[in-house]
Symmetry: C2
Subunit: 165 residues, 2 copies
Amino acid sequence: MKSCTTDAKGLLKIEDQMCFALYSTSRAITKQYAPLLAKLDVTYPQYLTLMVLWQRDGILVQEIASSLEIDQATATPLIQRLEKSGIVTRQRSKEDERKVQVFLTAKGRDLYKLALSVPHDLGCAIGVDDKLAKKLIKEANSIKRSIQRIGSATDDKDLDQVNTG
Amino acid sequence: MKSCTTDAKGLLKIEDQMCFALYSTSRAITKQYAPLLAKLDVTYPQYLTLMVLWQRDGILVQEIASSLEIDQATATPLIQRLEKSGIVTRQRSKEDERKVQVFLTAKGRDLYKLALSVPHDLGCAIGVDDKLAKKLIKEANSIKRSIQRIGSATDDKDLDQVNTG
DNA sequence: TTACATTATATAGCAGGCTAATGAATTGTG
DNA sequence: CACAATTCATTAGCCTGCTATATAATGTAA
């Protein structure tokens, strides 16, 4: 009788896990980005970094990290690689020497024109209609808000739960 | 006039990107898993691997890879780390020496009992109701299907698109 | 049966991700 | 002012992920 050490009842199935659905789908889409971003010679996280810089050039390492919702220690080498590619430059702030500002180079600014076709091309590659995309963004954001809400509730008292795995 | 090299019109904003929403949300949830899985002394991908093995012990490396929707070259070292932790054993198949079967050890089987509380505890940590979770799984799966559909359509002729970024 | 393709796994090299620890600059406080 | 705490960035060490390549076993065709 192995019923205690195997999942005969199917209580822990990978295809029922919300996190797995998001994790595998985001990787599937990222894989579709790859050939498009290859034309700009950047990776997906580097592309996200550029998006932020095209909005606000000269922002700090920490601001890029929080925009991408990644750790600062992940952002530093990411930006260093962009610097090595000649897409950005880094420069210590004069007012506060702890801070490092990230600036687009001419090459980095020029990539913007190439990037403009990426969303359209990706739409072709994944064939997802705009309505579903917007709905998913909304739902994903509501999950992140919920996590933040619970996480900040140091006094976690009456938090009831469900099996959302 | 920098309007050609910066995104004044907001055409490429990170918060409008569906892929970013999935990518950042999946990492946010994975971070909530970490303390729960620390009790089993496994990572999230290792936990997914265990889920598959609790369903079908003794399956091949390639079967684990396809279940997790990761590359086979990612699966091998993942399984090797589980082996080093004493959670699984690997063994060349007798009938076909190319194949490697992965078996749970007693320790690996025992972890199942501990894992049973993970979905509940994660629900507490992220506070997402079951209905939303199921909806997201469905939507994510429909995206993956759409990608497969287009990807397999070598004769991609009349595929119209949208900006789903 | 030799030759060639295919299959299954493993390895190498690179780019993220994370936590933890380090270092340098700034801020806050007694 | 001095010293502690904080802040910002970097580095180190680990675990994913990927592509490309290698290696061995199997399948297939001439």
